[in-house]
């Protein structure tokens, strides 16, 4: 028997009218959860915020751990770039509507170059007929040259990683919400940042709207929790969730992005854009609540430390989940800094086999590839995967595919991955997969190979006093 409803999902009590909610809550919508997210997602979020009519803000979170380093490499090639590549596509459809309805936009889409992103937004504003749009940039997260990382403690989760070897590409501190709050206080309608705490992006407009103090740990915790739940966009509204037949989600090709309704005392309800697919229920919220969380009693953000052990999750009607009970503790003394170093090269090659005896042919290809790397004496670390048998769950030694006893798959894709500090050796290793086209097992085809530069990250903890931020504000007409 299948149990469809979880016991902690209670049917909704008489829901307050939307006008009543609008009086009391501030809505924070999310427009993107990573660099590469769906560019048509922000539109329905903004439509929904406008339809409610109450005070609201929209935030974009587009910086993964290595994204700033990749942006920094882009900026080296072209000094005008180094901001979020999809910036214009994300912002253009909603910029004028947000400005007209008093919905500030906050985003870390400045990436490695916030002052470079501002003129791009300004040009969009001028074109949209809003040349007075006030755009703020927050700088100071980039600490290359002003902080000696060697003197600071390595963040514990990275302690087991190899020490860095290559040249420093980027070093960025996770700034707090306060610089963004200052920008909003100056009247900014768009706030462009680089690295900040991801939840801080949602917290800043809440602090600004409700006037929460920087030491009001319990309210800051509620706001940061809203940010934590929303910062990965669709991951709380049915994205990264559907598992057909077990966890079904309506219209997954059009998942609505999330909106948090937050009250002055820190009450929090998660919902999503109107007229979209996806789902917000106790299960989607629980999965995202624990996403990238280690000790639930100590989830650290730059603004406040969260204790999630008292959190409760209750369904309050369709696509509405109330999250209560978060506790706040003082913010950490030191801020986390992510440093990125050139990390050598990664070469990858793949080729397919299919049909009768394909597993034996795939195993033979793997053996031949390892033998080739040995014969040629290439200075690389390598592994072979048999995609379709075992790959992503396997180890570098191929423990799972080597011991595979199950039925033979219909197809196998053989993958070689090689890394090293010498680009040529790595590339030659990847090309050994290509050579299988004439020298490999019968009936192999579809070879692909590529060699890319690797970025290594290392996190440090740096005293707040070492990190200074700057907020600058200008009208679009001055920047464009």
């Amino acid at each position: 028997m299948t149990k469809r409803r979880s016991r902690d999902s209670k049917s909704a009590e008489a829901p307050p009218s939307s006008a009543e909610i609008s009086q009391a809550v501030f809505r924070v919508g999310n427009g993107a959860g990573f660099s590469g997210d769906r560019v048509d997602a922000p539109g329905p979020v903004v439509d929904t915020l406008i339809a409610h009519g109450g005070p609201a803000a929209l935030f974009f979170e587009v910086l993964g751990e290595r994204t700033v380093a990749l942006a920094q490499l882009e900026r080296r090639r072209d000094p005008a770039r180094g901001y979020e590549p999809m910036l214009e596509r994300l912002i253009e459809p909603i910029l004028a509507r947000c400005a007209r309805h008093g919905i500030p936009i906050v985003g870390n889409f400045g990436a490695a170059n916030p002052p470079g992103a501002a003129p791009v937004i300004a040009a969009l504003a001028v074109r949209a007929g809003i040349p007075d749009l006030r755009i703020a940039t927050v700088e100071g997260d980039d600490i290359r040259g002003c902080v000696d990382l060697g003197r600071h403690e390595v963040y514990e989760a990275d302690a087991g990683l190899d020490p860095q070897t290559g040249e420093l590409v980027s070093a960025n501190a996770y700034l707090t919400a306060q610089p963004m709050v200052q920008a909003l206080e100056k009247g900014a309608q768009v706030v462009v940042t680089g690295r900040t705490g991801d939840p801080s992006l949602a917290l800043a407009p809440l602090i600004h709207h409700f006037g929460w103090s920087a030491q009001d740990w319990s309210r800051l915790a509620a706001g940061a929790l809203a940010g934590h739940l929303l910062e990965c966009g669709a991951q709380v509204t049915g994205g990264y969730y559907y598992d057909p037949g077990f966890k079904d989600v309506p219209d997954p090709a059009n998942i609505g992005f999330p909106i948090a309704e937050v009250s002055a005392d820190g009450g929090l309800t998660v919902t999503k854009a109107n007229g979209t697919g996806g789902v917000v229920n106790a299960q989607t919220v629980k999965e995202q609540l624990l996403y990238e969380v280690h000790d639930p009693a100590n989830y650290i953000t730059p603004d406040v430390a969260l204790d999630l052990t008292g959190v409760t999750v209750r369904e309050r009607g369709k696509d509405r989940v109330e999250v209560a009970g978060v506790r706040g503790k003082p913010a950490p003394e030191r801020l986390k800094v992510i440093a990125c170093f050139e990390g050598g090269w990664l070469g990858e090659g793949e080729v397919s086999v299919a049909g009768p005896n394909c597993l034996a042919r795939a195993r033979m290809a793997a053996q031949v590839l390892h033998e080739r790397l040995r014969r040629r004496g290439l200075d690389v670390r390598a592994r072979v995967d048999l995609i379709g048998v075992a790959s992503v769950h396997d180890s570098d030694s191929g423990a799972l595919w080597r011991s595979h006893q199950g039925p033979a798959p219909a197809e196998v894709r053989v993958r070689l991955a090689a890394s090293g500090l010498r680009e040529d050796d790595v590339d030659q290793a990847a090309r050994e997969v290509l050579a299988l086209l004439c020298c490999g097992p019968a009936g192999n085809g579809g070879a692909r190979w590529r060699t890319t530069q690797r970025i290594r990250t290392q996190s440090y903890l740096v005293p707040r006093s070492a990190i200074e931020h700057r907020v600058t504000l200008a009208a679009a007409r001055e920047l464009a």
């Binding site: 149990k3 409760t312 995609i387």
Partner: protein, 126 residues
């Protein structure tokens, strides 16, 4: 009815629970959430840190800590040194280790048959 009443069947965790994986450095966390919170005590009993460690030993995992969240009926597993260098250095296609939530969901557990979910086939598929 108590969670323990009824005939026990052995099923993969996937039949009674869901979860999500996330990474930081060389460390992975996986949440585990029973569809029916009534099952939480059974999962606490059966899905030990030691058993979860066994699922990831071939990847070099050095330790597993389990955090209990009874108020939301969820467990959080934190697995150290499992990512063979993490997204920086791993040769794995999935350097973030995000697919490993479903490795955890393959772990067998013994639960009363009435809690077992079977896939609901969409209309049109046999």
């Amino acid at each position: 009815m108590s969670a323990r009443a009824g005939k026990l069947v052995e099923v993969p965790l996937h039949a009674v629970a869901h979860g999500r994986a996330g990474d930081k450095g060389n460390r992975l966390n996986i949440s585990l959430i029973p569809y029916d919170p009534v099952l939480y005590p059974l999962l606490v009993e059966q899905v030990t840190a030691e058993r979860v460690h066994g699922l990831f030993r071939h990847r070099g995992a050095t330790g597993v800590r389990r955090y209990e969240l009874p108020l939301i009926a969820a467990l959080n597993f934190v697995i150290d040194d499992v990512l063979e260098g993490g997204v920086n250095g791993s040769l794995n296609l999935d350097g973030h280790g995000k697919t490993n939530s479903f490795r955890l969901l393959s772990l067998p557990v013994r639960v009363p048959a009435r809690f077992v979910r079977t896939a609901v086939q969409p209309a049109g598929n046999p």
